[in-house]
């Protein structure tokens, strides 16, 4: 029963991801005085790509063909680990938050390898930049997560959420820092402004788009869908770790219903926040990104240190 629920939750996760992307786009259009597309447009795009015949560039090897499946499978699996509407599901036990970061890295590695597989300048450029950004963002993310792990004495996401729920609303400086760090990382890792621009097709500025330039058809659909899931994953992580209230702690229909409603609300709000920052800021030069990410890293480490200095000491005495 638990396992069925876990699978259903994962399906809901991957099913709702394009909706979140559609909602983000819609809010952004509104803010920029443009006419928004339908909320369901991302689904239509995926369906259209699914039906198209994909194009395989000549120098491609099996890595190019396999990468979309690996990326999608790794992302879906990550979605299965992260509690969306209910805690204490059995899938949360299979992997903890460090494994989650590892899975992001696995998906990214294959995407980067696929980018280099064709041997074009774009692929290499996108790959190099993606790995550079990731190698700064990943430690920042781990540090933010460790802050939580050390407070909650667990790296298991479900247990950590339980811990926050049990202790109630306490203002912890460490959590504030970690939240800031994680939000900055989320923006960088999902390729949003000011680090990357998901809408650009100007060669010199793109990172993510440059890597997947050669993809088309169902492969592109998988990659797009995976990046939508990734966006939602970061949203859910932020929402459920720092503000877990409303998440279902038992599996009764009412609490699950409340859980679904609450997470939808939280994600919708987070999307508005993201869009506000995207509208307010411009994209950075590539060599400014390091400062941005170092700041995120610093925030996360500060969070960890403030936990150790301010909070852990209190527990002992």
């Amino acid at each position: 029963m638990d396992w069925i629920l876990a699978i259903l939750e994962t399906l809901l996760f991957i099913g709702a991801a394009p909706l979140l992307a559609g909602w983000t786009k819609r809010v952004k259009c509104r803010l920029q005085n443009r006419k928004p597309p339908s909320l369901l447009q991302p689904y239509r795009d995926l369906l259209k790509l699914y039906r198209k015949q994909p194009i395989l560039p000549h120098p491609a090897s099996w890595i190019f063909r396999a990468a979309p499946y690996v990326v999608f499978a790794a992302t879906v699996l990550t979605a299965a680990f992260v509690p969306l509407v209910a805690v204490n599901l059995p899938t949360a036990k299979i992997a903890d938050v460090i494994v989650l970061v590892g899975f992001f890295a696995l998906a990214r590695t294959f995407l980067v390898l696929a980018g280099m597989d064709i041997g074009t300048a774009f692929g290499g450029m996108g790959s190099s930049r993606e790995m550079t950004i990731a190698s700064l963002a990943e430690p920042a993310m781990l540090m933010a997560v460790f802050t939580l792990a050390m407070s909650a004495h667990t790296t298991n996401l479900s247990q950590a959420m339980n811990y926050v729920l049990d202790t109630g609303l306490v203002l912890r400086p460490s959590f504030v820092f970690a939240l800031g760090g994680l939000m900055l990382v989320a923006v960088a890792e999902t390729g949003r402004i000011p680090v990357d621009n998901p809408a650009t097709h100007l060669e010199l500025t793109m990172i993510h788009e440059a890597m997947i330039l050669e993809y088309s058809g169902r492969w592109l659909a998988l990659i797009e869908w995976a990046s939508q899931i990734k966006l939602m994953l970061y949203g859910v992580l932020i929402a459920n770790i720092f503000f877990p209230w409303g998440i279902a702690r038992d599996f009764s229909p009412e609490s699950i219903g409340i859980g679904v409603g609450m997470i939808a609300l939280k994600l919708a709000l987070l999307a508005i926040l993201l869009v506000l920052s995207e509208t307010a800021f411009a994209k950075m030069r590539i060599f400014r990104v390091q400062e941005y990410l170092s700041f995120a890293y610093l925030l996360s480490v500060l969070g960890l240190l403030s936990h150790i200095i301010l909070e852990a000491a209190r527990v002992h005495h």
Binding site: H58, R65, A73, S135, L304
Partner: protein, 704 residues
């Protein structure tokens, strides 16, 4: 039984050395055979016939490596036996000094490291016959190679078996000196001779530090056997002196920053299967020495030592990988990455020391297990990658990443095996590199249990560095795989490369790749088998590691952290297969082959690809202070007043700061000192007579 197998391993390695030294075609061998088989003319004729046969060289080579492989299998079995039984086996050999015969001992710790040695050795034995074939008709005799390889392996095995400081040092020197000849094997290049000399120098300086460390213990313990050393009651000051000496000596061999600069010079210039053994195994022998000294022989553990090891380990990890990222020579890159991995191992050991000194045995054990597991993992994937790099070198005579590309189309099998190594060393789930780093992170995250605020904040900082290291390692090895195997070939050699012909040259790396996958997916049984080892060193084991079953890892407690790699693999395969089925099989849309997008200009030559140097340029720029970058831009101008630039030549070189900051000043200092001492040598006979006279007077005064 296990000890017998261990002796057998040493014997097989020595026998391989002897076999290499004997050329079956030399006249005295012929005379020897004629004498021995004189009574059986038929057999004599047969032996002579086989010695004269065309494939004699191939058989001789095969025999050498079969003996080495036998040594590897025996070492592996002995190690497994020692790990399983737990009781140490001791023995005394009738060699050595009159009052000190050689003591040997096989306990779980040496057993574990025998396994670490055995697996790569088996792979090397499979790989070697094909790889050394090209040396056969070259300038260098296989005799030297085979002789020193056998002695090198025997030396490493004896280090693991030694139970007294004397045998330990003899074996240690055998290992160091034999590997010097291996580094100097291709001695026609001045750079190789220089690297070999530097290697020998550093090895001997390190050996002196180790001897002094043993000397301190022996001074208090009264005896050179390890049992006597264990009984030495040291004051904290003397214990610290011994510890620092041991850390210097073993750290020098293991390649810890800032003593690492010899390592990336020496390891890559040896033949590739030897590089695999040096990076994959010999560094682990140094780690073994350190663990034996710090965890077993010393009677106390101070938290300051833990901090020292933690800081040095973290620095090695992050600097090693930063330098690795900037290398264009594949084997050099792999050598720098060894510095990084040894740094990770020492980070884990530092954590373990801190927790143990704090009295937290369970967490100390967890850190130790993380470090040991990373030793094994690194031995597996680094040997794999060196053997792979050797196969590329063998097929294309190319070492520079800048000239590679597109090898996945030309060497598809090697490319698949290499991919496993790449993903493992990049610490990606669900492979083995991730498991050990995960355990180390889990150890670091328990820092909250320590009372001291300084330690509590230092450990998370170290884990921050570790996180940065693992992210950079992923970048580094993605670069290696992407530049070498993917894209278009960047040179003619590579474009005409062919798949490795010799089956063993693929089987060796494939064996290691299989081990990487197996440990990655099912780590719990392996970690459980380390229980005897940790009992021996820390007096505890990881009882909680498989609370949920053998598919699971739960290092501290199930509610603190759990990871089930096998379930993860099943999940990923299921989702991947489902997608493939739904998207490809159901639509039946075959992809259309086309040219890649070239902005409509037509034609994308290989030179337009990102190079290895370009790929790591952002990192070079971001971490500028860590490097000494020398860039030059040469312009050739023509036309009126030199306005038209016709040729642009850009060069860059990344230098190791340890060279400039430590090695070169030390070298200058030694030269200076030598010149100063040289003033004694006037060349005047009266001065020398004066020296003798005053020495005599002094001695007479001392005696009377």
């Amino acid at each position: 039984m296990s000890l017998f197998l261990a002796y057998l391993a040493v014997l097989a390695a020595l026998l391989s050395a002897v076999t290499a030294a004997i050329d079956g075609r030399s006249p005295w061998i012929d005379a020897f055979i004629a004498k021995g088989l004189g009574r059986w003319p038929q057999q004599l004729a047969r032996v002579r016939h086989s010695l004269a046969a065309e494939d004699y060289a191939a058989r001789h080579r095969q025999l050498l490596f079969t003996l080495l492989g036998g040594s590897g299998i025996a070492a592996l079995l002995a190690g497994i036996g020692a790990l399983a039984s737990g009781a140490p086996l001791v023995d005394t050999l009738p060699f050595g000094l009159p009052w000190l015969s050689w003591h040997t001992r096989l306990d779980p710790l040496s057993g574990f490291f025998l396994c670490v040695l055995g697996l790569p050795l088996i792979a090397v034995a499979l790989y070697g016959p094909g790889y050394v074939r090209e040396f056969e008709h070259g300038k260098h005799s296989l005799t030297t190679l085979g002789l020193t390889t056998g002695m090198f392996v025997a030396g490493m095995e004896l280090v693991l078996l030694a139970d007294d400081a004397l045998l330990f040092m003899i074996a240690w020197e055998l290992m160091s000196v034999a590997s010097y000849f291996l580094v100097a094997f291709q001695h026609e290049h001045a750079a190789n001779r220089r690297a070999a000399f530097l290697y020998l120098l550093m090895a001997e300086v390190g050996a002196i530090a180790i001897i002094l460390a043993y000397g301190v213990l022996a001074g208090f313990g009264g005896g050179l056997t390890f049992d006597a050393l264990r009984c030495a009651a040291l004051s904290p000051l003397w214990a610290s002196i011994a510890f620092v000496l041991a850390l210097t000596g073993f750290g020098m061999k293991a390649g810890l920053v800032p003593l690492h600069a010899w390592l990336p010079e020496a390891h890559p210039v040896a033949p590739s299967h030897i590089s695999a053994l040096m990076s994959g195994v010999m560094l682990k022998i140094a780690v073994y020495g350190f663990i034996r000294f710090a965890f077993d022989l010393l009677d106390q553990i101070l938290w300051q030592w833990g901090i020292l090891v933690l800081v040095i380990g973290s620095a090695s990890a992050v600097l090693g990988i930063l330098y690795a990222l900037q290398q264009q020579n594949l084997k050099r890159l792999l050598a720098y990455s060894s510095v990084e991995n040894i740094g990770i191992v020492f980070t884990a050991l530092g954590l373990s020391l801190i927790f143990l000194s704090n009295g937290d045995t369970a967490l100390g054990t967890l850190g130790l297990v993380g470090g040991l597991l990373h030793c094994l993992n690194h031995a597996l994937f680094k040997s794999l990658l060196f053997l792979g790099a050797g196969a590329i070198l063998h097929q294309t005579h190319e070492q520079s990443l800048e000239n590679m590309g597109g090898l996945i189309h030309r060497m598809p099998k090697l490319a698949n095996v290499f991919l496993v190594g790449t993903l493992s060393i990049a610490a990606l789930p669900p492979l083995n590199g991730f498991v050990s780093e995960w355990l180390i992170f889990q150890t670091a995250l328990q820092a909250g249990s320590i009372q001291s605020g300084v330690l509590r904040s230092l450990i998370p900082t170290a884990s921050a560095v570790l996180a940065l290291t693992s992210a950079l390692a992923a970048t580094c090895f993605v670069k290696v795989y992407g530049v070498a195997f993917l894209g278009l070939p960047r040179s003619g050699h590579i474009a005409h490369a062919k798949e490795v012909g010799h089956r063993g040259m693929l089987a060796g790396p494939a064996l290691l790749a299989a081990c990487c996958v197996l440990i990655g997916i099912l780590p719990a049984p392996l970690i459980n088998s380390l229980g005897n080892l940790t009992h021996q060193l820390t007096g505890a084991d990881l009882g909680n590691i498989s609370t949920l079953g053998w598919l699971w890892l739960t290092p501290v407690a199930p509610e603190v952290a759990s990871y089930a790699p096998a379930l993860v693999v099943i999940g990923i395969l299921a989702v991947g297969w489902l997608c493939y089925h739904l998207l490809y099989r159901r639509t039946g849309l075959e992809p259309r082959r086309a040219e890649p997008w070239d902005c409509g200009f037509g034609g994308l030559p290989a030179r337009m690809q990102y190079t290895s140097g370009a790929f790591s340029m952002p990192i070079r720029r971001i971490f500028q202070p860590a490097f000494e970058v020398q860039e030059t831009l040469e312009e050739t101008r023509e036309g009126p007043a030199g306005t038209r630039v016709t040729v642009l030549r850009y060069r860059f070189q990344v230098l190791d700061k340890a060279w400039l900051g430590l090695y070169e000043p030390a070298g200058r200092g030694v030269l200076h000192l030598a010149r100063w001492v040289g003033r004694l040598q006037t060349g005047n006979i009266r001065t020398y007579l004066g020296y003798s006279f005053f020495t005599l007077i002094f001695l007479l005064w001392v005696i009377s």
